[in-house]
C-alpha cells in the first residue's frame, strides 16, 4: 500500500506518496532580536495512499491530525513541501497554476461549512454557473444556464430557487448547493472535507445519500475527510486513520472496523458513542502532543495503553499485516 511511488496503476485516480506539509509561524523582528527559534508545525508527515476510480477513500482522525491539510494539499490549495501527487497518471506535484487549470476542472472540493463556503452576495445560479464559464465547460451563458438548472434539479432544487441568495437556504440546502457547484465542471474526483459534520442528523442522511447517488450517476471518486466513524463506515470502501500527521492504519473498511490493530484505531472505535452499547473501554488519557515538537518515536506513544520502551525511540513504519497496513511495534 505504501509502495505506490514508481509505477502508476491505471485503476487509481489519485496516488499520494510521502506527502509532507509544514507551516512556519510568522517570524518577526522581535523574534529575531530575542533569538527565539523558528516554530514549524509539522501538519502532514509523509502520508501515502491511493484512491481508486469510483471508490470512496476516507481519512479519519481527530482535530489537528492533518486530514484536512492533506486534502487541501492534494487539490493544491496548499503547495506540498515534498512528496508526489499523481492525478490520473499525471505528476501534478510541481504543476504551475496555468498547468493546474485543466486539472482543477477534474478535481473539485466540497467544504465543511456551508455558511462560509458560498458567496453571500451571489445568487445560486451565479454560484453554480461561474465555474462552468470559467473553465469553459459551457460555450455561453445560455448553455451554462441549462446545465445549471439540470444540476440544481439533480441536487433537489426547483428552477425558481436559482434566483435566491445563500442566506435564504438552510445548512443542508447550502451543502447541496456546494455539491452542485463542485459538479459544475464535470469533475472525476471530489475531495469532501467534513461535508456533513455541520448538519443535523436527519439532514446528514439526505446529503450522504445524495453524494452516494451522484457517485453512481457521474462515476465519481471521493476523498472523504471525516471524524465521525459511523459516517465513514457507511460511505467508505477503504480508509486511513491519521494521528499527528501520520497514517497509523490503512486498509479496507470491514477489516479495520471488525478487527482494528493499531491501539489508536482500537481506542477510537471503542469510545465512539453508539446507540446499542455502553462504552466499556477506559477512554484514552491525555491530549495529542504538539505538532511543533514531534515525538522521536511513535506519535501515539504518549497516550498508548500498550506502550513499550522501543515506542519512545523508534518510529514504526507502515507494514502489511492481516490485509491492511499498520504502523505499530506490537506487530
Amino acid at each position: 500500500m505504501n509502495n505506490t511511488g514508481k509505477m502508476h496503476d491505471p485503476k487509481n485516480i489519485l496516488e499520494v506518496s510521502d506527502l509532507v506539509q509544514t507551516f512556519t509561524q510568522p517570524y518577526g523582528i522581535l523574534d529575531r532580536l530575542t533569538g527565539r527559534p523558528k516554530k514549524t508545525v509539522h501538519a502532514v508527515n509523509g502520508v501515502s495512499f491511493s484512491v481508486r476510480r469510483g471508490e470512496v477513500f476516507s481519512l479519519v482522525g481527530e482535530s489537528g491530525c492533518g486530514k484536512s491539510t492533506t486534502a487541501r494539499t492534494i487539490v493544491r490549495l496548499l503547495e506540498p513541501k515534498s512528496g508526489t501527487l499523481l492525478f490520473d497518471g499525471q505528476d501534478i506535484t510541481k504543476f504551475t497554476p496555468a498547468e493546474m487549470m485543466p486539472v482543477r476542472k477534474k478535481m473539485q472540493m466540497i467544504f465543511q461549512d456551508p455558511y462560509a463556503s458560498l458567496n453571500p452576495r451571489q445568487r445560486i445560479r451565479e454560484i453554480v454557473m461561474e465555474p462552468m464559464l470559467f473553465h469553459r465547460e459551457a460555450a455561453d451563458r445560455e448553455e451554462a444556464h441549462v446545465k445549471m438548472l439540470r444540476l440544481l434539479d439533480i441536487v433537489g432544487f426547483r428552477p425558481e430557487q436559482a434566483d435566491r441568495y445563500p442566506h435564504q437556504f438552510s445548512g443542508g440546502q447550502r451543502q447541496r448547493i456546494g455539491i452542485a457547484r463542485a459538479l459544475a465542471t464535470n469533475p472525476t474526483f471530489l475531495a469532501a472535507d467534513e461535508p456533513v459534520s455541520a448538519l443535523d442528523v436527519s439532514i446528514q442522511a439526505q446529503v450522504l445519500n445524495l453524494m452516494m447517488d451522484l457517485r453512481d450517476e457521474f462515476n465519481l471518486s471521493y476523498l472523504f475527510i471525516a471524524h465521525d466513524l459511523s459516517v465513514v463506515r457507511h460511505v467508505t470502501e477503504r480508509l486511513g486513520i491519521m494521528y499527528l500527521g501520520f497514517i497509523v492504519e490503512q486498509g479496507e473498511r470491514d477489516r479495520i472496523f471488525e478487527k482494528p490493530l493499531h491501539p489508536y484505531t482500537q481506542a477510537l472505535l471503542a469510545v465512539a458513542p453508539t446507540l446499542d452499547r455502553k462504552i466499556a473501554a477506559v477512554p484514552l488519557s491525555g491530549d495529542v502532543p504538539s505538532p511543533i515538537h514531534l515525538p522521536v518515536g511513535c506519535p501515539f506513544a504518549s497516550r498508548c495503553p500498550q506502550k513499550m520502551s522501543i515506542c519512545e525511540t523508534n518510529r514504526p513504519k507502515l507494514r502489511i499485516l492481516d490485509g491492511r497496513a499498520v504502523a505499530c511495534h506490537l506487530y
Partner: protein, 332 residues
C-alpha cells in the same frame, strides 16, 4: 411537591421579533428526580437550549418566558426576583455551556474563576477556598493542579477547559446541573473522557443532570430518561433504553434510523427523514412534524396531538405512534 427535584409545567418561551413571534418553547412539561440524568435531544431549532436557559431565567430581550411554572424543590423559579435567582444560579443550579473556548473569561486565571464561585456562594476563608479549588481540579482530572491554578484559559486544550468549566459548575455542589451540548466541540476520545467524568461526578455528588444534546448516541450512553423535542415541543419521552429500542413517535424513529450504524450490515442508502424542519415563523397548523411524516393522516394536518401515555412510563404526542404492540404496524 417534594416528590420531584424539578417539575416543569407548560413552560413557554417566545421571541418577539420584527418578522413575528417565535414560540421557541411551546408548552413543555417534564420532571426530574434527585440524582436523575435526563437527556433533552433534538435538532437545531428544536428549542432544547432555550428550554435549558429558561429554567435559569437566562432569557434576554426580545425573548421572554411567557408562561408556565418551574418548580425547583417546590418553589416556582419563575416567580423569583432577579436577586433571588442570582443566589440560586451556580449554588443550587449550575450550567455547563457548549463551547469551552468562549465560556471562560480569557483575562482571568482559572483559579480565580473557580474562586469567584466559592467566594460568592460559601463562607470559606481564602485558604480554605484555595484548598477546595485544588481538590476540585484534582477531581476533574487536571494534572498538577497546584501548577495550573494560575494559568489562563488559553494555556489549556479544549478538553482541559471543559474540565475547568465542570469544576466551576460543581464548585458549590449544586443539586441540579444543566449541560448544554457539553461535548459537541470536543474530539471523540476527549468526549469519552468528559462524559465518563460527568457521569462519575454526578453520581458522586448526587446531583441531578439535564443533558441537552443533538447526539442520540451520547444520550443513550449517559441518561436514564430522555425527552425528544421538535419545533418547541416535547414529542416523546420515556426511559432511555426503552425509547431507543422502540421509539413511538415517527420523528424519534426517523432520527434513530438516519444515524449510520457502527456494526451489522450496511444498507446502501440511509433511511432519511424527507423535507426539513419548518420555519418557526410559519409552523404547520396541526402536528409540526406532519408534513415530513410518512404516517400522517388528514387529522394530523388539522389538530395538534397532545402528549399521552402509550405504555408504562412512555409518552408521545402522536395520533399514529409506531411500534405499538396491539395496534400493530398496519396503521398507515
Amino acid at each position: 411537591m417534594a416528590e420531584y427535584l424539578l417539575e416543569v409545567k407548560n413552560l413557554k418561551t417566545c421571541f418577539e421579533l420584527f418578522r413575528g413571534t417565535v414560540k421557541a418553547v411551546d408548552g413543555v412539561d417534564f420532571t426530574l428526580k434527585e440524582g436523575e440524568i435526563l437527556g433533552i435531544v433534538g435538532e437545531s431549532g428544536g428549542g432544547k437550549s432555550v428550554t435549558g436557559f429558561s429554567l435559569l431565567g437566562l432569557i434576554d430581550l426580545p425573548g421572554r418566558i411567557s408562561g408556565g411554572e418551574v418548580f425547583f424543590r417546590g418553589e416556582d423559579l419563575l416567580k423569583k426576583s432577579e436577586e433571588e435567582m442570582r443566589r440560586i444560579r451556580g449554588k443550587e443550579i449550575s450550567m455547563i455551556f457548549q463551547d469551552p473556548m468562549t465560556s471562560l473569561n480569557p483575562l482571568q486565571t482559572i483559579g480565580s474563576q473557580i474562586d469567584e464561585m466559592l467566594a460568592l456562594h460559601t463562607d470559606l476563608s481564602s485558604a480554605e477556598r484555595k484548598q477546595r479549588i485544588l481538590d476540585l481540579l484534582t477531581e476533574v482530572g487536571i494534572p498538577n493542579p497546584a501548577d495550573r491554578i494560575n494559568n489562563y484559559p488559553h494555556q489549556f486544550s479544549g478538553g482541559m477547559r471543559q474540565r475547568v468549566v465542570i469544576a466551576i459548575a460543581l464548585a458549590v455542589n449544586p443539586r441540579l446541573i444543566i449541560a448544554d451540548e457539553p461535548t459537541t466541540a470536543l474530539d471523540v476520545t476527549v468526549q469519552a473522557q468528559i462524559l465518563k467524568l460527568m457521569e462519575n461526578l454526578v453520581h458522586k455528588f448526587g446531583s441531578a443532570l439535564i443533558l441537552i444534546t443533538h447526539d442520540l448516541a451520547v444520550v443513550s450512553e449517559m441518561t436514564h430518561r430522555v425527552a425528544v423535542m421538535y419545533c418547541g415541543k416535547i414529542v416523546e419521552e420515556g426511559p432511555t433504553k426503552d425509547l431507543i429500542a422502540n421509539p413511538h413517535h415517527p420523528y424519534t424513529k426517523g432520527l434513530l434510523e438516519s444515524i449510520p450504524k457502527m456494526a451489522g450490515a450496511r444498507t446502501p442508502r440511509l433511511p432519511q427523514i424527507s423535507g426539513m424542519v419548518p420555519s418557526l415563523f410559519d409552523l404547520p397548523k396541526g402536528c409540526s412534524f406532519a408534513p415530513r411524516c410518512s404516517r400522517a393522516t388528514e387529522r394530523c394536518l388539522q389538530d395538534v396531538p397532545e402528549m399521552r401515555l402509550l405504555s408504562p412510563g412512555r409518552k408521545a404526542a402522536c395520533y399514529h405512534p409506531a411500534g405499538m404492540a396491539e395496534e400493530g404496524e398496519g396503521h398507515e
